[in-house]
């Protein structure tokens, strides 16, 4: 992979992020009412002094373009403003919560791809078999279930009937002082239900997609060659075929990342997972705009990074693309 390609890709990503910053700025100005009051959180409790300091910090008495410049320059230096509700810098609020969100989203993504591809490959072996029928029905159901409702149903199921998984939060309070491996195991234990809830929707889609993609690949000449030379069925399916069928799955995985973050927002709210989604929900209820804008910025940044990683892995998976820019 050429480094100039990577450089261009990152540069474009930064440009998109600049767009998000400008959008944030515009949204605050488009909101009805005095921007200073909007930024203070419309709590009615903001004193004139507070409003004056906001006007000073954001340069609200200056021309709009100067205001934009102040805002963009601030964000570039890592200053996302102050949350008047949490009484903390927004950057700190997000830094505390971005880890749990990444953990949840990445786990759900890996879970859904692994299980989905496995189901899809099984289904592709017999296109008219029971497994194929199951995959299509499951995919349609998975698409139609509201993710927050799945979470609630799982909580009801596991809280009383099968209390084997914790249904709330990320850590047990009583394990605060335990050894690190006990704590890690505890977090993973808490992670199972939320990650599975989030994975269900996409799991079904990956299963359907990999079934279709595998069926196409299994009809090709090199698979017939592999079978003819006597390669075991397992190696034909998982080595020869899957590697070629994986490309469309990778594309969709990249495109899905934004949706996954939207889903995480609901799942975090249901399971009280201490991530950015939960923070977004709390700050939206309080109309704490600096925090909301900060979350929007970082959530978009996560999508941009995911897209770049998808591009890189795509080139890694498909040798035909290497060297091209």
């Amino acid at each position: 992979m050429s480094s100039s390609y990577l450089l261009r890709r990152v540069g474009y990503g930064l440009l998109l992020m600049l767009g998000v910053v400008v959008l944030n700025f515009l949204l605050i100005r488009l909101a009805p009412g005095d921007p200073a009051v909007v930024i203070a959180g419309e709590m009615g409790g903001a004193t004139e002094e507070m409003l004056e300091s906001i006007r000073e910090e954001y340069g609200l008495n200056k021309p709009v373009l100067v205001q934009l410049w102040i805002y963009v320059a601030g964000v570039a230096q890592g200053n996302l403003g102050e949350s008047f509700f949490f009484n903390q810098p927004v950057a700190k609020l997000i830094a505390d919560r971005i880890g749990p969100t990444i953990l949840l989203v990445v786990t759900a993504q890996l879970m859904s791809i692994a299980l989905g591809v496995f189901l899809g490959v099984l289904a592709a072996r017999k296109p008219n078999g029971v497994m194929s029928a199951f995959v299509s029905v499951f995919a349609t159901i998975g698409y139609a279930v509201p993710v927050f409702w799945t979470g609630i149903m799982l909580i009801i199921l596991f809280a009383s009937s099968f209390p084997i998984f914790p249904v709330e939060g990320m850590q047990s309070v009583k394990l605060r002082d335990a050894a690190w491996y006990v704590q890690t195991a505890d977090v993973l234990h808490h992670l199972i239900l939320p990650a599975f809830t989030l994975a269900i929707i996409y799991l079904a889609q990956y299963a359907r997609l990999s079934r279709a993609s595998m069926l196409e690949v299994l009809g090709s000449d090199y698979i017939r060659t592999a079978r003819a030379k006597g390669a075991p069925e397992k190696s034909v399916l998982f080595k020869h075929a899957l590697r070629n069928a994986a490309l469309p799955i990778l594309t969709v995985a990249g495109l899905q990342f934004g949706n996954l973050i939207s889903g995480a927002l609901l799942v975090e709210t249901v399971f009280n997972w201490p991530g950015m989604g939960r923070l977004a929900f709390d700050s939206i209820l309080r109309r704490d705009y600096p925090t909301i804008m900060g979350v929007l910025f970082f959530a978009s940044a996560m999508v941009v990074v995911a897209n770049i990683l998808t591009d890189i892995s795509y080139r890694w998976a498909d040798p035909r693309l290497r060297g091209k820019s």
């Binding site: 934004g258 927002l265 939206i284 929007l296």
Partner: protein, 289 residues
């Protein structure tokens, strides 16, 4: 010279309809959706009552009192009343949001695909920008900034969901604009506007219709998610709001959250069965798979 046989080619729409008619899951979807729409439109006719009224003791289990077949919620509100009136806003917002999505997506996608060059470049960069914003979060921000009503919610959902439609439309236009009948239309002097809307668009419709159906499903889930978070119109009962309002008490009573969730599920399920059926009907080749 022999007489040409009196044979009329079947129109593509008729052929698709013939295929659709034989698709049992899709017909089940149509039946389910019809029942749901009729229930939300005329249900209150049989079962009147404000869904916000407290009518009984809280958390009455379903079936315990004949007047409240699905029980009552944490305030003692009738769940059947909520189910019947709560579907209307969800379906209306879903349909309106899907319409807005299609209008924005088709317009931008058609312009980008047809004109190409810098128009395409500019519009695709805008599309990519919107795809970077996590849709639900952006919709939440829009709804909060511009106070929630059914219209702002529908517009917010439309504004965040159009990029996929735009990409699909663009791809179709890129494919179709090279075909001979488009060249023929240009040769007889048709203007760009006419070629876009009257020549290419009708031929690009089949995949767009399928995508519109799926968009309705996604928009319904979106509306449900926003109402669940309490960002819907607080004065309008909706299925998502019922789940959101009762979620603190799920361990005391399972029914106030279960029934509205099932309603959302069956609605979206019906819509996606119809979408799959349309997809098969328009692409007979895919039926072999």
């Amino acid at each position: 010279m022999t007489d040409t046989p009196d044979y009329k080619a079947e129109s593509p729409a008729l052929e698709a309809w013939r295929m659709f008619r034989r698709n049992i899951p899709a017909l089940c979807g149509v039946a389910m959706l019809t029942v749901i729409v009729l229930a939300t439109l005329y249900g209150t006719f049989f079962y009147s009552g404000d869904p916000f009224d407290v009518v009984w003791a809280p958390h009455e289990p379903p079936g315990a009192t004949p007047e409240f077949p699905l029980g009552t919620d944490y305030l003692g509100r009738n769940i059947v009343a909520g189910m019947l009136t709560g579907g209307g806003p969800t379906l209306a917002v879903g349909a309106a949001a899907a319409a807005i999505t299609m209008v924005i997506g088709i317009s931008l996608g058609a312009l980008a695909g047809y004109y190409g060059g810098w128009v395409d470049n500019l519009l695709m960069r805008i599309t990519e920008f919107f795809q970077v914003l996590p849709a639900l979060l952006f919709a939440m921000v829009l709804v909060t900034l511009f106070s929630p009503s059914l219209w702002t919610i529908a517009i917010a959902i439309g504004v965040v969901s159009w990029p996929q439609t735009a990409r699909l439309t663009r791809a179709e236009f890129l494919k179709i604009k090279e075909l001979e009948y488009v060249t023929a239309a240009r040769a007889i002097g048709a203007r760009n506007k006419r070629i876009i809307w009257k020549v290419i668009l009708p031929n690009a419709m089949p995949p767009l219709i399928v995508s519109a159906t799926l968009t309705i499903g996604v928009a319904i889930l979106f509306e449900a998610g926003l109402s669940f978070l309490g960002l819907g119109d607080p004065n309008v009962m909706s299925w998502g709001l019922m789940i959101g309002a009762n979620r603190e008490y799920i361990l005391d009573a399972w029914w106030p959250v279960t029934f509205p969730g099932l309603a959302i599920f069956f609605t979206v399920f019906a819509v996606s069965l119809i979408g799959d059926g349309l997809n098969d009907a328009f692409n007979p080749k895919l039926r072999e798979r």
